[in-house]
């Protein structure tokens, strides 16, 4: 009797430990950061019109980057075409909402549409998570842009669609909603990473062959991760359209896809705080070095090179390393790099 109770207690504590393990892996430092997260959606109410605009843009970028971070950092799939999913979401939302579908339902349809497109291209992505995935997602961007430009009668063509209805006709909603979605998304990803499926996806990234020997369907995991990533992208796209009131194919080009990937890697892939730091950095970079325009491309390249060469954990990894040094004790270890076996 005594022994049984003992085992029960330890099993429960192990569950807690497991949850903590997942939280550690996602870089959320427990209660304080969750409180901070909950405070984020309130921020837009405090700022003026300009701050609200910045928060709107940034929230949408973080949301799109969050999905990408999960795909890249947790499932190890290289996606160079997140902007394609944004475009699908934005156009699905604009078309549905334009036809009189209630905006929130239209946003749900946009998310589903992005997920469906991801499912459709997933056979090309899951087989080869690096080269194949990179090309397939790049091809998706080209196809979406070409179709949107071609189907002028439906999408307004290259000149774009005007008067996209807002998601909620409440002042400040445009700035609030992406952050609410970011918080919900972070909590979801944190929970999902700790489930058996999330575990299987992470194992598939570390070593696909070994994971298969353990009974993990690596390709199914990658497919699911791609669909989740696309749904985050679709929602971000719908919100982009709703907040601008205007969409055009050149808003969702390959440059945006690469920029999102740089946010993820620069911020620290697979870490919850990574997309936040990365997106903020890339977003404010032109303001910081705005005088050196001729050098912008060169500068972006140099920064990306520095990050990939010197802090593979990204800015989040750099910050936690600095914190470790300052505190002088082992707090959380930097996020593991994907164990790549040649």
């Amino acid at each position: 009797m005594n022994g049984r109770r003992d085992v029960g207690v330890t099993a429960a504590s192990a569950l807690r430990v497991r949850a903590w393990g997942a939280a550690r892996a996602w870089g959320a430092a427990g209660t304080p950061s969750i409180l901070l997260l909950l405070a984020l959606p309130v921020l837009p109410a405090l700022g003026g019109r300009y701050a609200q605009g910045v928060l709107t843009d940034l929230g949408q970028l973080v949301l799109a980057a969050l999905g990408l971070s999960f795909l890249k950092g947790r499932a190890g799939v290289l996606c160079l075409g997140q902007s394609g999913f944004l475009a699908v979401g934005a156009y699905a939302y604009a078309l549905c909402a334009g036809c009189g579908v209630p905006p929130l339902l239209a946003a749900a349809i946009a998310v589903a549409a992005s997920g469906a497109v991801a499912l459709a291209i997933s056979p090309a992505v899951v087989k080869n998570p690096t080269d194949g995935a990179a090309l397939a997602t790049l091809a998706l961007v080209v196809v979406v842009q070409s179709l949107v430009t071609g189907l002028r009668g439906v999408t307004g063509g290259a000149s774009g669609m005007r008067n996209v209805p807002p998601l909620l006709a409440v002042p400040g909603a445009a700035a609030f909603l992406p952050w609410a979605a970011v918080v919900a998304g972070m909590l979801f990803l944190r929970w999902f990473s700790a489930t058996a499926t999330g575990r299987a996806i992470r194992a598939g990234r570390d070593d696909p062959r070994a994971a298969a020997r353990c009974g993990v369907n690596v390709r199914a995991g990658r497919r699911l991760a791609l669909v989740i990533c696309a749904m985050f992208g679709g929602l971000a796209g719908a919100m982009t359209g709703a907040s601008f009131g205007f969409i055009s194919p050149d808003m969702f080009d390959i440059a945006l896809a690469i920029a999102l990937l740089v946010m993820v890697v620069g911020g620290g892939e697979g870490v919850l705080a990574g997309p936040l730091l990365g997106a903020a950095f890339i977003y404010f970079l032109p303001d910081i070095v705005r005088a050196s325009r001729d050098f912008q491309t060169l500068l972006n390249g140099a920064l990306l090179l520095l990050v990939t060469q010197y802090c593979p954990g990204g800015m989040a990894g750099m910050l936690s390393a600095a914190a470790r040094r300052v505190l002088g004790r082992r707090t959380r270890s930097a996020p593991e790099k994907g164990g790549w076996s040649p």
Partner: protein, 382 residues
């Protein structure tokens, strides 16, 4: 080794930061008049955006040398739109809320202007340098000759030459869409038929298939409405196919050194509709635009070591008009709009501006003419 690379990269970054000094030319004293500049300095439209920027910098220099705006210095606050609507909107928001500018100049792409339009509906006055975009609210003005007027000019010219049907080869982006719509409408009005429209991607390296389809339709003329590299690709395909008809192209190509290097594949009859500033050297000596452009061009070449491009005169004129309004009625948006709407017969670099409450674009069909291109050099066609 790793450390060595890091040192080099950091040095490069520092050099970059050091060279990019802010462009402020504030000779006259007093509270500066801040005008925001939103130009595509990088990305697909950077060639045009750079012309915009250079023209604006040129004006700021001229203006401040001449005592500024009513004694106050003119200050330009420049943001790069990276040829993307999202950045254009972010830049416009920052200029309005943070830098508190009294006017905006720029937005060289249709999608940039469309995306930023709702933001500036309540002011400040915005001069869009995109010639293909029709200002959609009362605070917006357009620089340059509205692109459909270019198309009208082409159609009139073709009709006068007895051509009945013609073809269009253009890019599959907003430029191409505006071109197709403009040419279709104007062709109908001039009794012409636009018999075939073909598209190419700006990144394409070959257009043989499109040109072969055009050749099969036996058009009386061909409009190649593309800007930059695709023009070379298209002209090469036309030359290879042996298609011998008059070819028209966009004035967006006019300043390119590139045009000169295409001499070997230039069609026998090669035309371009363009505003007066493109052919100022051929204008009669008495023409007021000639002297203005001669001075501008000389100073421009000296400052930037290249001849002024399509976007430079537009940005210069836009700023000149705005500063004249500021000097006259102050910086209140409503007053500036009212002032500008009353401007008649203002001689700018790109033509004679006549604004009204309905016409926020100033330049009209009279400010455009067909120029013939020979070995990359433009002369009036008739």
């Amino acid at each position: 080794m790793k450390r060595w690379i890091a040192v080099v990269i950091v040095l490069v970054l520092l050099a970059v930061l050091a060279t990019g000094c802010p462009k402020k030319a504030a000779a006259p004293s007093g509270e500066p008049v801040k005008v925001g500049l939103l130009v595509c300095e990088t990305g697909a439209f950077s060639s045009y955006g750079l012309d915009n920027l250079n023209g604006a910098l040129m004006f700021a220099e001229d203006c401040n040398a001449a005592g500024g705006v009513g004694g106050r210095p003119l200050e330009l606050v420049v943001y790069n739109t990276e040829s993307t609507p999202a950045r254009a909107v972010a830049g416009a928001r920052k200029l309005i809320a943070d830098d508190k500018v009294v006017a905006l100049v720029g937005l060289g792409m249709v999608s940039e202007a469309s995306a930023a339009a709702p933001l500036v509906a309540g002011g400040p006055v915005t001069f869009v340098t995109c010639a293909a975009y029709q200002p959609e609210n009362s605070m917006m003005f357009g620089a340059g000759v509205f692109v459909p007027l270019h198309h009208a000019c082409i159609c009139r010219w073709l009709a006068a030459r007895g051509v009945t049907q013609f073809a269009l080869l253009t890019t599959n982006d907003a430029t191409g869409e505006v071109a197709e719509a403009g040419l279709r409408r104007n062709a109908g009005q001039s009794g012409l038929e636009l018999s075939i429209v073909e598209r190419m991607n700006p990144a394409d390296v070959d257009a043989s298939a499109q040109v072969a389809r055009i050749a099969a339709a036996k058009p009386g003329a061909l409009v190649v409405w593309v800007v930059g590299k695709p023009l070379g690709v298209a002209l090469r395909a036309i030359k290879t196919a042996g298609l011998d008809v008059p070819v028209f192209t966009s004035h967006g190509n006019r300043s390119l050194e590139f045009l000169r290097s295409l001499a070997a594949i230039e069609p026998a009859e090669f035309y371009m509709p363009c505003p007066v500033d493109a052919v100022w050297e051929s204008l009669p000596t008495a023409h007021p635009a000639r002297a203005m452009n001669a001075g501008f061009s000389a100073r421009y070449v000296k400052k930037f070591s290249k001849i002024p491009g399509a976007g430079s005169t537009d940005a210069y004129d836009a700023l000149a008009l705005l500063c004249q309004a500021f000097a006259a009625v102050g910086t209140d948006s409503a007053k500036v709009v009212a002032y500008l709407e009353a401007v008649k017969g203002y001689q700018g670099l790109a033509g004679t501006y006549d604004f009204s409450a309905e016409n926020h674009r100033g330049l009209g069909p009279d400010d455009i003419m067909i120029a013939r291109v020979r070995a990359g050099v433009l002369t009036p066609a008739d």
